[in-house]
Structure formats: structure tokens, C-alpha cells
């Protein structure tokens, strides 16, 4: 059976949805960070598959930028998690409720 472009697109759509669901329903900040990484990498699959099919390099170039940005976001995110943990001794997002209107 031939693996066509649509297979890659479905795979990436499923992974992206898993990331979204993970972000929305998990309460641990680290798991939420991992879900965001999953979303970004799902998009990378789409970009690479499209780029390969269309024979245009632009998509693969964007993938490099996405990987750099994902690394930067992970660094910031983990730093914030550490700072938050020092204050609260927990990283459960439902415990961060200082602001109310």
C-alpha cells in the first residue's frame, strides 16, 4: 500500500488534537508543556510532508525555525515552572489562582 500525503496529514492532525486535549485536560504544568511540544511537532510533520510533496523548500526552512522556537519556549517554560515551584511548592495549575475578578 502506498503511503500518500493524506496519511501524513491525518497523522499530524491526530497528534495535534492529542496535544490540544492534553493541554486542556491535564493540570500538571510539565505535562502541559509536553502537550505544547507535541502540537508544534505535529505541525512540523505537516510542514515537512507538504514541502516534500510540493517540492518547495520553504516548509522545511520553517521547520528549523519552529524547532528553535520550541527550544526557546521550553527553556522559558521550565524556568518559569521552577520560579513558580519555589513560591508555591506545587506546579498544579489549579493552585495558581491569585487573581480573581
Amino acid at each position: 500500500m502506498e503511503i500518500t500525503l493524506n496519511w501524513y496529514l491525518y497523522l499530524s492532525a491526530i497528534l495535534f488534537t492529542m496535544g490540544v486535549i492534553g493541554f486542556l485536560f491535564r493540570r500538571d504544568v510539565i505535562i502541559m508543556l509536553m502537550s505544547i511540544e507535541l502540537m508544534l511537532n505535529a505541525v512540523n510533520i505537516t510542514l515537512v510532508a507538504l514541502s516534500q510533496t510540493m517540492g518547495s523548500p520553504a516548509g522545511q526552512i520553517l521547520v528549523f525555525f519552529v524547532m528553535a522556537v520550541a527550544a526557546a519556549e521550553a527553556a522559558i517554560g521550565l524556568a518559569l515552572v521552577i520560579a513558580a515551584f519555589r513560591n508555591k511548592l506545587t506546579i498544579d495549575v489549579t493552585e495558581f489562582n491569585l487573581f480573581k475578578y
Binding site: L9, F16, G19, V20, F23, V29, M32, L33, I36, M39, L40, A42, V43, T46, L47, L50, M54, S56, A58, G59, I61, L62, F65, V66, V69, A72, E73, I76, G77, L80, V81, A83, A84, N87, K88, V93, F96, L98, F99, Y101
Partner: protein, 484 residues
């Protein structure tokens, strides 16, 4: 193209994008300088000098028109206007933040390098002509703003707001990026100016991509229902920097959104969608602002409402609408930086630090006449009273909607801004018509505090600019020339 040709065209591109280069280099210089001379007094001055230099270099570019780096960035016209707006906002912010951070004992070099890098990201986003530059600019800006929000590590609220901002911001980045990938797949190009030609097919992939891209943009400009992060972030972050976040980043994101709407997407399909978002943003922003007792939080909801007014102009989808939106962004930047500048000073009038509840501000207008009277101008302008610039700005965004047969939308906008007068003027009532009760926290401690000269200068400048923009139309005429 051979190598020497590419080399010479690169130098021409660098010259065209000189403000971006200056700001990025200055950011690097500040990082290195701070490593050798920690907390040196010259750090903010380097920052300020770089921003002023970039501003001066950008002014002649207003009349230019073209692209640089093989169509990655737009040069001149609307892009130059937005760049000037961002750089101006950066200059005023650094001037406000310098004394503020000194008092907070957070006068560290990282702040200034992050402001510079965030500015560089905004400059790229505002001038982007390609999906890659939009993405890189947006993320450079956002990552720096997450750091600036969580700057005051000792403050639990700052960390909490930074964490929320980061999580939701990164989440929205995922949608934004997926939208880009689908648009790329549907049109086969990432260059915005080539997209409209290819967009005719109108496949499911294309519409899904546009929808996801819009979600990302609406998050960045904090339109309802993607506004949840705004009040928490604005309340928790250092006040002068909130002025920067709420104005410059919004200007850059709106500029990129306008570019996408004008260049990339097929026209006349967006009025309905944008009008719906404009209505719920204006209504919910204004209604929630009514019940806030914290001034910073109130200003956060007000900035959501103002994003709604700008969306009204975008919904009109005419050249007048887009130029009106740019003019409104200018006016909004001036008055919001001023309002947050005043609030950054009043934090020190309160013994409880940065709580800034309305009750703690009773009678402040008499004890601090300068802050009180400049706040009068900012609040009246935000509410849209003539002859201040806020009125002309509202005219510039609502009139195109009426011309485009969206009378109901303009009426909703006017009614929403009538509601907003209540909470803006309530601030002034508290400032001038209530007297501080005995034993009110902070009244005695506040007397000793002198407003720094630089802050005075910024506040008076913003006030003067509001009056000038309100009674003359040169800036409005200028924005009118961009989308001909």
C-alpha cells in the same frame, strides 16, 4: 544571481531594514555590556540611544515603498508607520521603566536587552511580508514578553501571571503555526503577496488554515473569546512594561493581521467573521471593566475593548478602515502608555505596594496634581471625548464601518464606548472628589515620594501629543496615504 550580486543586494536590504538591525545589535551589546558592568547606569542609556537612533532612521522611510530580503519584509508606508509607533512606544517605556525599576531594585541589564529584543521582534512582525517572518517576529516578541512579565521573581503574582501568559501564549502559537502550515499546503507559497493569486481554489484546507491563523492573531491582540490571559498578565506584570505590552505588541500584531487581510486573503469574505468578534470583544470588554476595583485590571479590560474598536475598522475591509485602524493604534498607544505611566507612579503611594485598588487612590488628584491632571486627559481620551485624540480615533474606526453599510456595528461600538465612560470617569471621581480617610494606607508614605523628572516629561509629552493629535489631522492624513 551570482554571489557578488547577492552580496551587494544584501547590503541594500540591510540598509533598508536598518532600524531592525540597530535594535537587534543594541540588544546584543546590552547583554555583553551587562556581563562586564552589572547594573551599570549606562545600560538604559544605550537602550534609549539605540531606540532613538532607530526611530530617526525610520522617519525618512515613511515615503518609501518596497520589500527587502527577497520579499520577506515590507519597507516604508504602513510598515514604517507601525515601526515608528513601536519604537516610540519603546522609547517612552524605557524612560518610564528606568526610575520605576530602580525603586523596585530590579534595575538589571536583562530588562533592557529583553525590551530591545522584544522591539526587534515587533519590528519584524509589523513589517512582515512572509509567513516565516510573521512567525519568527511573533515568537521573538512573545518569548521576551513572557520574561518581562515574570521579571519580579519575588512577587508571586508576577510569576503566576507570567506562567499563565506563557502557557496560553505557547498554546495559541500551536494553532497559529498549524494555520500557517495549512495555508502553505493550500496555496503552495509562504509569501503573503503571492498567496492571493493562488487562493482562488478555496479548498477546505485553505479555510481551516485561515481560521486557525485568525485564532492566533485574535489571541495576540486579546480579542474575546481569546482574552482570558490579558487581565491576569496586566495586573501581575511590572506596570511600565504593561504599557509596552498592551500597545507595541498589539500594534505589531494588528499590523501583521492587516497585511494578511490586505495581501494574502481573498477580499470581502471577512466582514462577517470580524464583525462578530468585534461585537463580542467590545461588549464583553466594556461590561467586565465596569465591575473592576483594581485600576490596572480595569485598564486591561479596557484594552480588550479597544481591540474590539480596531476590529470594527478591520471588519469594514476598506482602505479607509485599515488606515483608520493604524491611526487608532497610534492614539491608543499614546493614551495607554500615559495611563499605565501614571499608575506606575501611584503604586508607590500605596503602602501595600502594587495593589492599586480604587479605594487606595482617593484624593490622589490633589496630593499629586501632575499625575491627577494628566490622568484626566488620558481617561477622557480613552473614553473618546473631543477635542482629545481618542475622539478622532473613534471617528477614524467607526466611520469606515458606516461607509461599508455596517451601521449596526458602528452603533454597537458607540454604545459600548458610552458604557466605557462610566468606568473611566469613575477613576477621576475617586482621584478628585473623594478625600482620603484618616489612617488610609500609604498617604503619609506617599508624600515623601518625588516623581522623577523623566516620568514627568513622558506624562506631559503624552498629554500634549493627545491634544495635538486630537485637534490636527496630520497623522490621520498620513495613515490615509498607505492603502491607496
Amino acid at each position: 544571481m551570482d554571489l557578488s550580486q547577492a552580496y551587494s543586494s544584501m547590503w541594500a536590504d540591510i540598509a533598508a531594514a536598518l532600524p531592525l538591525v540597530i535594535v537587534s545589535l543594541a540588544g546584543l551589546v546590552v547583554v555583553v555590556f551587562d556581563a562586564y558592568r552589572n547594573r551599570h547606569a549606562a545600560t538604559p542609556l544605550i537602550t534609549l540611544a539605540a531606540l532613538v537612533l532607530a526611530f530617526a532612521v525610520e522617519i525618512p522611510a515613511l515615503s518609501a515603498d518596497g520589500t527587502a530580503f527577497h520579499g520577506m519584509l515590507r519597507i516604508g508606508g504602513a510598515a514604517a508607520f507601525v515601526n515608528l509607533l513601536i519604537l516610540g512606544s519603546g522609547i517612552l517605556t524605557v524612560m518610564l521603566a528606568m526610575p520605576y525599576l530602580k525603586r523596585l531594585d530590579m534595575h538589571i541589564g536583562e530588562v533592557y536587552s529583553m525590551v530591545l529584543f522584544a522591539t526587534a521582534g515587533m519590528l519584524m512582525l509589523g513589517a512582515a511580508n512572509h509567513l516565516v517572518t510573521i512567525f519568527v517576529g511573533l515568537e521573538t516578541m512573545s518569548v521576551c514578553l513572557y520574561i518581562l512579565t515574570g521579571l519580579v521573581r519575588k512577587n508571586q503574582g508576577a510569576i503566576e501571571s507570567a506562567l499563565k501568559y506563557f502557557l496560553l501564549g505557547a498554546f495559541s502559537t500551536g494553532f497559529f503555526l498549524y494555520g500557517m502550515a495549512l495555508l502553505y499546503g493550500a496555496t503552495g507559497t509562504m509569501s503573503l503577496s503571492d498567496m492571493q493569486v493562488a487562493a482562488g481554489s478555496g479548498s477546505v484546507m485553505f479555510w481551516a488554515g485561515v481560521a486557525l491563523l485568525l485564532v492566533g492573531f485574535l489571541f495576540k491582540v486579546s480579542a474575546v473569546p481569546f482574552h482570558m490571559w490579558t487581565p491576569d498578565v496586566y495586573q501581575g506584570a511590572p506596570t511600565p512594561l504593561v504599557g509596552f505590552m498592551s500597545t507595541a505588541s498589539k500594534a505589531a500584531a494588528f499590523a501583521a493581521l492587516i497585511t494578511v487581510l490586505v495581501l494574502a486573503l481573498p477580499p470581502e469574505r471577512w466582514t462577517g467573521v470580524l464583525a462578530v468578534f468585534a461585537v463580542i470583544t467590545m461588549v464583553i470588554g466594556n461590561v467586565l471593566a465596569l465591575s473592576q476595583s483594581n485600576v490596572k485590571r480595569m485598564l486591561a479590560y479596557s484594552s480588550i475593548a479597544h481591540a474590539g474598536y480596531i476590529l470594527v475598522a478591520l471588519a469594514a475591509g476598506t482602505p479607509e478602515g485599515y488606515s483608520g485602524a493604524l491611526f487608532y493604534l497610534l492614539v491608543y498607544t499614546v493614551m495607554n502608555i500615559g495611563a499605565f505611566g501614571v499608575m506606575s507612579q501611584l503604586e508607590w503611594d500605596d503602602a501595600q505596594g502594587s495593589t492599586q485598588s480604587l479605594d487606595s487612590l482617593a484624593g490622589v488628584g490633589y496630593r499629586r496634581p501632575l499625575l491627577g491632571w494628566t490622568m484626566v486627559f488620558f481617561m477622557f481620551s480613552l473614553a473618546g471625548f473631543p477635542p482629545l485624540a481618542g475622539f478622532l480615533g473613534k471617528w477614524a474606526v467607526f466611520a469606515p464601518a458606516i461607509d461599508a453599510d455596517l451601521v449596526w456595528l458602528a452603533i454597537t461600538g458607540v454604545l459600548a464606548s458610552a458604557v466605557s465612560a462610566y468606568y473611566y470617569l469613575r477613576v477621576l471621581v475617586v482621584f478628585f472628589m473623594k478625600s482620603a480617610r484618616d489612617g488610609e494606607p500609604g498617604t503619609a508614605a506617599g508624600e515623601a515620594f518625588v516623581i522623577p523628572t523623566m516620568t514627568r516629561g513622558v506624562l506631559i509629552f503624552c498629554t500634549a501629543l493627545l491634544v495635538v493629535l486630537g485637534v490636527t489631522t496630520f497623522a490621520w492624513d498620513l495613515t490615509g496615504t498607505f492603502f491607496g
